[in-house]
Symmetry: C2
Subunit: 334 residues, 2 copies
């Protein structure tokens, strides 16, 4: 029988460094002090928000190279993605670097997909050092998926706020690094028929549940194996829904469970609906906050489960439902 | 120094089966008799061309499972992609199958990216059997990237015709299969500043050249190592440009070079401008025609180089240039 979980048995897929750039609103949130850089202006003097997001994506890769004193020649590949049409941000960012490029797309779960593909390349010895990067921007996503910003339309109670920012993880084949990726579960597309484009959390919950249960079954672990289990961007209501539904299947997600979309904002004070979403959401929370906690010794075993709603404005206008996907990545600190 | 080429040294990444579904126009072209299925109607009684493309993508995966008498449980993962916004075709196709899904996006080079990622998974032993599938459709691509079909606008001389169809390759970890993937070169994003969205061939040529030269340098092979070198969808003018430019660098692409976009249509009789393009172009030509020639013993060593132009309608409207990418996959018949 198929096992959806891949084990990196050599124990040498390590995190060498992380870098994040957060938008102004994200900087004002509860994780503000953890982000490596916080923007004052999310347009960055560019002519369009798309160009601004591209600039942030380029900057975060430059930042991680600077931090590690590495050059593009030292990086074997970049695994990158974003949620704009045809992934123009990642693609345009990568023309600035003389580094091979693999584009990954599973909507807001793309950061998870990047980590999994990259880990396989390192563990198996095809590559020695790779970057996983993703970005999103409130102003590019909002006008692409929903309404022109100028319309100033009201937001529904179940809507989420697309995170502005970019982050990246530099992985190295190295047994001596303090935080390792030790296994990962690749998710399936799950569709429970949710059609409300303002309720992406509900659309992604069944996929998150499917991947979590598969991960627990494959690894014969219980949720309490982990110090923290983090979904990507279900938001407040849907992450509570997930806890309820998965309990019926015999799995208790208690104090050790949270959602990156919930963690990144002061939900009520910042008026972000159910919380954050976007390709940068799980990325920023992991690369800034969680990785720091793991280095400090506060968290030893973390299961990161980036979630994605597989939609486009065309599919929404054609009345399609919203399939979801989630991938689980197990990170362990020595 | 970085080596962009990955070698599958176990010699066990084999092709178990291929399947293709071509549109009516593609069926009338010179490769018509090689396609496993040819559609009579490219709307398939669906309400939209997007739904039709999704149906074709689903059908081709079902067809390959039927041909091999395998079930979804026998497949470890599907690596799939398309060129519609947010890859809705691949994502929606995958909700029909209970199989883990990795979405790949490098525009029309996505088929190459799928083959590379999948080969790594098999060679390293993480997976045993995977499907690589991509699709495109003239009527979904045309209205998304350029103009509404109803406008009936004139086509410029350098334009290409998006291939309608879907194809897939079923790879298995198996030393006894007749055609193997033996190495692959991952490409970089290359941008020479071409802005004309109707001249994608010129935009992709520098990327194809970069990847080819890198592949020859990495492997210390000359072009004549291969019985056939095939770019993905440069079209007639740009593939002649490639031959000319790469000759200056000391590499002769002669009788053994061709382009999938040139092969798939009777260019003048079928009025397709420079030839075919699209995520299905290199896929259909390889999975139907080239694989057959390899099985027949007519071709022993093939270098497949799917090419992609990394654009969106937003980037075009914002006056951006068109970066290109190309990946090279070496296939060898026993």
């Amino acid at each position: 029988m198929r096992n959806q979980t891949i084990y990196f048995k050599n124990n040498d897929v390590g995190i060498l460094e992380t870098a994040t750039i957060a938008g102004p609103k994200e900087g004002e949130g509860p994780l503000g002090r953890y982000f490596h850089n916080v923007l004052k202006d999310d347009l960055l003097k560019q002519k369009s928000y798309e160009k601004a997001e591209t600039k942030i994506h380029i900057s975060v890769i430059k930042n991680i190279l600077n931090k590690t004193k590495l050059t593009p020649r030292d990086i074997d590949c970049v695994f990158a993605g974003d949620i704009l049409d045809e992934m123009i941000v990642s693609s345009f960012a990568m023309r600035e670097f003389d580094i091979p490029f693999i584009g990954v797309y599973n909507a807001c779960a793309s950061f998870g997909e990047a980590l999994i593909n990259a880990s396989c390349m390192l563990d198996s010895g095809y590559m020695n050092r790779v970057i996983c990067s993703t970005s999103s921007h409130f102003s590019t996503a909002e006008r692409q998926y929903r309404f022109p910003l100028e319309l100033g339309n009201q937001r529904t109670p179940l809507s989420q706020w697309t995170v502005t920012g970019a982050g990246c993880t530099l992985l190295e084949k190295n047994k001596n690094l303090p935080v390792k990726i030790t296994c990962a579960t690749i998710g399936k597309v799950v569709d429970f028929g949710v059609r409300d484009v303002n309720d992406m959390g509900a659309a992604m919950t069944p996929a998150a549940m499917d991947t979590l249960i598969t991960h627990f079954e494959n690894t014969k672990r219980k949720p309490d194996y982990y110090d923290m289990i983090l979904t990507g961007d279900l938001g407040d209501a849907a992450s509570r829904l997930l806890k309820k539904l998965i309990k019926r299947q015999g799995y208790d997600l208690d104090e050790n469970y949270n959602d990156c979309g919930v963690l990144i904002y002061n939900r009520e004070a910042q008026q972000v609906g159910q919380g954050g979403s976007g390709t940068a959401c799980s990325n920023l929370v992991f690369n800034a906050y969680i990785y720091d906690k793991m280095l400090q010794g506060d968290l030893k075993r973390v299961l990161l489960v980036p979630t994605g709603a597989l939609i486009s404005k065309t599919s929404t206008l054609q009345g399609e439902t919203m399939p979801g996907i989630a991938h689980a990545i197990c990170l362990e600190a020595v």
